[in-house]
Symmetry: C2
Subunit: 274 residues, 2 copies
């Protein structure tokens, strides 16, 4: 039995061409999916983001084909798992220039759910303010591309602390996101999250919260936010589409109990899991 | 006969693990070497840069082992070729966090020399000022890491022009480098090149020019330089360790004939080829 399979271009245990541009330049994109009882949570939003990234990078991704291959892949995976999609521009050449006729590579892999303590959801997490900062690059911001050295550095910085997540700023000191989550705050009943314009990843759960809130007539305010705004907030939470919503219970000496807005989005998250 | 071999971790036609962090996050480094009559040009400088990058990324690279494998690899390559080294942090995990016990992956590949017109060296090239800009990230600047989406975008921008190279600025409008070269200018007999502190790659030929000039008592000035400085220069040239020195004969309406300083460094380059 193949518990957690890996497919490269449709082939089980396939081999990645060492000339793939995904390796050479990080020339590609990825998505990390929560699969629950055989169903991908937020599938449409993941595919939409992947498609937007492919457009931005000029990668001729056939979404329909990808979806078919993903569904076929999932029938070979544990019903509840994490599935990762990597799409690269494909293989070829030695220089930065790509030719338009390259065929994208698709790497699918399944993984066990991450083993975070139950208390992360129930009571919340301890957060720090990271010192490493994100560079400003509007051409790439928002997309979940494969150039992730900044996140590798940040994750390592976080591992050197006793905190569970970190608030990450851009080079101008504005909060962008967490190390592996997006971040929201509540101020006087209003839900706010940093704009993702020059740095950061437009997370799928972040997008779901924005769409749901807009539909409910109480839109999220995407704003320029600084660490002090978070310290002065009534509630702060991290979230992503794989692990759900983590209330922040401490940040730089400030303490919170999980608030009602945070609990609301935790309920929303649980409903999506089905 | 294997004209241009590819080795993955010492194995000919080896397979790259799809879980390699080089693919997942661009978590690694590369070097592109000019091999001339079986000898690597600027070998020491390439290895020093690779080692510096590995230190910056905390990748436990064994330089001695790498060198031995490279030399063994080259005995299987055409005597004159381009050899590429990719070093990644290795394989493992699904998240950004790495464990210290990962073993780096080494991918070696050989390629034919690039076929640029002889006129690029003899008469010079046409250059443009690129509109895409480089993000500022001092933690990564200088190193030849695998996060190269900015260069992919820039190379594509250049392909849409009739120019052969482009002057690339950072987000603050300072010139950093070319799309696939470093850049120098001459002003009143003095040789200048942009500082590589927050963006760009510390090229091996750039480093050779800096070291040679210092040894000769006429140090290169690494300075904050803007496009107007280049337009006002007496000479401008691009260079890298693989293709040598290309005089700029035109840039944004300004025209030059190759100058004596440019010719000097072209001679220097030819001597290195042996």
């Amino acid at each position: 039995m193949m518990a957690y399979p890996v497919w490269v271009d449709g082939k089980e245990n396939g081999c990645l061409d060492p000339a793939d541009r995904g390796l050479a330049y990080g020339d590609g994109l990825f998505e990390t999916l929560r699969v629950e009882a055989g169903r991908v949570v937020f599938l449409d939003l993941h595919l939409a983001r992947l498609q937007a990234g492919a457009r931005a990078l000029d990668i001729p991704l056939d979404s329909h084909l990808l979806l078919q291959e993903l569904l076929r892949f999932l029938t070979n995976c544990p019903a509840t798992c994490i599935a990762k999609i990597i799409v690269t521009r494909g293989s070829g050449g030695r220089g930065y220039l790509y030719s338009a006729d390259l065929s994208p590579s698709i790497i699918l892999s399944a993984h066990p759910l991450s083993a975070y303590p139950e208390s992360f959801q129930a009571e919340g997490i301890d957060a720090v303010l990271c010192t490493s900062r994100l560079a400003l690059q509007p051409r790439l911001a928002g997309h979940k591309h494969l150039n992730r050295l900044e996140q590798v550095l940040l994750r390592q910085e976080l591992a050197g602390t006793s905190a569970d997540e970190g608030l990450v700023c851009d080079m101008q000191g504005r909060v962008v996101e967490g190390v592996f989550n997006n971040v929201f705050m509540v101020r006087l009943g209003e839900l706010l999250t940093p704009r993702i314009e020059a740095a950061g990843i437009r997370g799928v759960f972040r997008e779901a919260v924005i769409q749901e809130s807009a539909a409910a007539g109480a839109p999220v305010r995407e704003d320029e936010l600084y660490p002090d705004d978070f310290l002065a907030a009534d509630e702060v939470f991290f979230c992503n589409s794989v692990n759900g919503v983590w209330p922040v219970k401490s940040l730089a000496g400030r303490h919170w109990a999980p608030g009602t807005v945070t609990r609301y989005w935790q309920d929303y998250w649980r409903k999506q899991l089905g």
